[in-house]
Symmetry: C2
Subunit: 635 residues, 2 copies
């Protein structure tokens, strides 16, 4: 506790000091609201110029914002069922979730080609279940969820490589490997391990475990992939190099230095391919001592969080969250030290380089530096959690802070426009504040998070706008809007779903024993058929095909007094599984307003007593079939 | 289908006609963006002037927006589990949901005193499960969810009375009453019923069934409570007075007139109190024929949706969605016709009044009129779904349209500032558009909904801003910000939770047989205790008390490889139930970024083999207890 109070005292001093910096004249600028108001206003009918993808934290989802308007355009359900989209409810997306109903999504990672965002996919991690999801940006839909074996709490994840060969994951809470190994907490230092994993991404985006590396039981925190000269490497920060398992607040802050691990992922993959791995939990696991040249450690002052490779790929920027400066490391110097084998011992079989051998510069940014982004114009921006500021500093000699801006409050990560690429655009930085306190209309003890749009086009940072976010964006990435061209409907003629019903005359209900397959067509404003007769105890699969081909004509399919509701987009087929309980009448309806006669878009399930003579094939009337056929022709 | 095409043709004619109206000059105004940009810009650190509560549709939640900035401030979880808030996961909120994981929330209803929003509660319906939730606006948290017996799809719901004596619910999809009554669909007209329910609200906000009324099997659509002279009455629209059970798109649009039901809720309650009801499904159900003076029908042209009582309480405005005018009915004329017993027969024991006897005016607003709101300055605003416009018209002679504005696209309801009260403020109207199509950056086939802020302070409506919403706000209410004063923390000394741990020395783990109670204190940046030893097969209740008393210092409590994560606000205690599976190590952690040492806020569960000698009482070290005690003193 003493440490904590001491830290607080340092923070007060720093805030006072900061108020004398030139950057603190920002308040005067903000009061002249005209220009800022114009800069964030997107006229009705016009478009934002950037997409921003914010992680949804323990909501388990991804939030999509438009910039510079800061409008929340949509939420992409990823790890949590979401009735608004029917996600996790229809059979296909339910299977994708694998029984979990929660995730903790921290770091969105856009796929890259040659180190620039290419707009194909967005990866996002789930910390507690060590999963990585891939969202297809052609339809903004989660397509794959991959569980990384042996990793305990995937926080340093996914941060794609420059050509999306790999995404990464590493254990934040070290654990026995495998998890089922019988151990005692007291034997943490000997029986627990961290795991650093390289997850291969195929050309089609599919994930598989490329390699895993066993490390000492540190807490692996964040990662960034090298680029340019450092392409082929990945850099992981850790805290708790003290290897404590309790009272971490105190015990994990004893060392002056923790570590960055530099991993040569090509060497690691070659070692696996050469058969040097042991299989644990289905994954190829490497011991550092078995693979020279694969992994190195170098010190970084205390309890670092972010690790960020600059656009040129020359510099690795990290900083202890309990210090007041950024340590800039040189990739070239690291290579020289490795070549010269200048090691300061080893940790768990991993050679340790000397801080001073790898260090390029120390930049006195301020208190609580967490994360650094870049503008592509020679400057870096570091978030200062304790100072509640962003420091802008020169990336290169004289390595000095050139501007500061206050943020409200307690900034975690920040997000620069195309900030993780080789070519950041230098337009905006968004502060992802951990506390919003009094910045918005009060909504009870559960406050929104806060985010702030900052214009970085000029020499001084300018705060443009505050916008609240739902808990809890940890990180975000911002991509130029013209890089994404998502489809607006699913072409019906490309619908390959085996349960699709594409012709009016195929709409029907088939009953085989206690299994019923209802092949429904949805088109404004009717389900065909809209009367479904089953018997008690039947398992009914509703296969609903939305045959619309107009934009934004979604049909919902909800069943009363059930947990079943799905949303079917134009051209799409989805399946929902419903169990017929006691005999009775159960209505269903379109749950997504679709037309002037949307309210009339309903139907009834008649559940007859078990054994009642229900027809094995039920078809709509010929008149109804003709109507649907005509509607589809006029579509 | 012919009908549908015919309707389309009418729509085209109407749109062409509308373009010659004076209101259509709006585009020129919008292009001059300066003023609009200023009108919606809320400077960093300043506040919006209105709260807007938007229903979340099939997301099951309520969205809170600030106006005029149109920023989404937070989401209140109501009918759907929401890990972002831990809602539906901790034991208390899980019990509130009663096993359902989905709702379809249509109509927020703010509590009223003397016909004005009083800021105490927000009610919201769940259509498919016929439930009403009450959100306490002192902490923006769902406190109660009430299931209305016998109602099948509560769409006309909740729409509080002027002193919140009642909220209402009525069956949209008529059904057998009770639902278990053995019937055949073919006998819909004789064996199905609609139900209109009055749900009593106590002074403390608790809900109970006051009365239910059996009606013919119409589809009850919407309701509004009378006010002023019409206080004591509620008005319900229906469609499908044709009593069809299939192909409603065609069969339920045959009649030129459907109905409004006018219900005298005091007479209904008196009848129940006098013992005239039969108990069905636990609710007191009345037959109209048994209670004269309780319910009347009067015709309204075809397939009406909204029914809206004007601020004076004299007029009831409704309109068929398949016509081009609003019918304004006079409450005084209705009373006169009833007094004179001028009936045109009956329907299901309910006397039917004549359209012309009750009608005050017909206002030619345009095509597809759905819903009407008011500005308190003598004007009404009607949404036109087919025309994609809002018509502003004079409420009173000469009952003419004075302005129109285009909206994008296919508006459903609209929401005026304090629009459902006796004193609308006349500042803003928000269009809740059903289709957004091309108004925002594309996000795939699942489009956001669209909403638009319109300034109605001047003689002409002025479009200020487009903002996307998540599916699917059906209706909203907007209340002056200065009416709400939610708490910002929960005072720890008022925490009455029996599982609370308020003193450092009480933090402990108790094991009794296979039940473990872990009494944890959460305070920056530690759980105390942070090591929990249990045996395989134990049921572990984690009772976590957040002893912080600073604003916005939420602690999360998430358990790895489980579906358990809860959020505990300052001063609050929450309980989560976890089953200890196989022996092994399971980490837990704070899932809501809370401090500079948040990453260190973690702990371990050691699951020992069944029968291992685990201590029945586990306490943290005296040093740790002293530290927590000191932190609490400095709080």
């Amino acid at each position: 506790m003493k440490r904590w109070l001491a830290l607080g005292a340092v923070a007060v001093v720093a805030v006072v000091a900061a108020s004398h910096l030139p950057g603190c004249a920002w308040t005067a600028k903000v009061r002249a609201t005209g220009p800022a108001a114009q800069k964030v206003y997107v006229k009705p009918g016009e478009y934002d110029t950037y997409y921003a993808f914010l992680s949804g934290g323990h909501s388990g989802q991804v939030f999509v914002y438009g910039m510079p308007s800061c409008r929340h355009i949509t939420t992409i359900p990823v790890f949590t069922p979401e009735p608004a989209r029917g996600y996790g409810i229809d059979e296909e997306s339910k299977a994708l979730l694998g029984g979990y109903t929660w995730g903790d999504a921290h770091h969105p990672g856009l796929s890259e080609t040659n180190g620039d965002y290419d707009g194909r996919w967005l990866f996002i991690n789930d910390l507690p279940h060590a999963r990585i999801a891939r969202i297809d940006l052609s339809d903004f839909t989660t397509r794959e969820i991959f569980t990384v074996p042996n990793v305990s709490a995937a926080h340093a994840c996914p941060f794609p490589t420059p050509n999306t060969e790999y995404v990464f994951a590493a254990s934040r809470f070290s654990a026995p490997v495998p998890f089922t190994k019988p151990v005692k907490l007291e034997n943490y230092k000997t029986d627990f391990n961290g795991v650093i994993a390289g997850v291969k991404v195929s050309k089609e985006g599919h994930m598989s475990t490329g390699f895993e590396i066993l490390t000492p039981p540190f807490d692996w925190d964040l990662v960034d992939a090298g680029k340019g000269p450092s392409d082929g490497w990945a850099f992981f920060t850790c805290y708790n190099s003290e290897e404590a398992y309790d009272s971490l607040e105190v015990k994990a802050s004893q060392h002056e230095m923790d570590y960055i691990a530099a991993v040569n992922w090509r060497v690691a993959q070659q070692a696996v391919d050469a058969g040097k791995a042991h299989t644990i939990g289905g994954a190829p696991v490497l011991q550092p001592k078995d693979v020279p040249g694969m992994i190195y450690l170098f010190p970084v002052p205390k309890s670092p969080h972010g690790v960020d490779v600059d656009p040129s790929g020359q510099y690795i920027c990290a900083s202890g969250k309990l210090q007041a400066e950024v340590s800039v490391f040189s990739f070239a110097k690291m290579q020289q030290a490795i070549a010269a084998r200048r090691f300061d011992g080893q940790q768990g079989g991993i050679p340790v380089l000397r801080y001073t051998d790898v260090l390029e510069a120390r930049v006195p940014v301020g208190l609580g530096p967490l994360h650094t982004q870049f503008d592509g114009k020679g400057y870096a921006y570091t978030s200062l959690f304790l100072d509640s500021q962003i420091a802008k500093w020169k990336l290169g000699p004289p390595w000095n802070v050139v501007d500061k801006i206050d943020v409200y409050y307690s900034i975690g990560h920040l997000m620069a426009s195309e900030g993780d690429t080789r070519h950041p655009t230098g337009d905006y930085v968004v502060a992802l504040d951990k506390l919003s306190k009094d910045r918005y209309l009060a909504v009870g003890p559960s406050h929104p998070e806060g985010a702030q749009l900052i214009d970085v086009r000029g020499p001084k940072m300018e705060l443009l706008y505050d916008f609240p976010t739902y808990p809890e964006p940890h990180y975000g990435q911002m991509i130029k809007a013209d890089k994404l061209h998502p489809m607006k409907i699913y072409p019906l003629d490309q619908n390959k779903n085996p349960w699709a019903t594409k012709r009016a005359e195929d709409a029907r209900i088939e009953k085989h024993g206690h299994r019923v397959d209802a092949y429904l067509i949805a088109v404004r404003s009717h389900f065909t058929p809209d009367v479904v007769r089953v018997t008690a105890g039947d398992t009914v699969y509703f296969h609903v095909t939305n045959v619309e081909q107009d934009e934004d004509i979604t049909h919902g399919f909800g069943i009363l007094r059930s947990n079943l509701d799905m949303q079917v987009e134009p051209g799409e087929t989805k399946t929902i599984r419903w169990l017929a309980g006691a005999p009775g009448i159960v209505p269903f309806y379109c749950s997504n307003f679709c037309s002037a006669l949307h309210q009339e878009m309903q139907g009834y399930i008649e559940v007859q007593p078990s054994g009642a003579p229900v027809a094995r094939l039920q078809r709509p009337s010929p008149a109804r079939v003709a109507e649907v056929a005509a509607l589809m022709q006029h579509r």
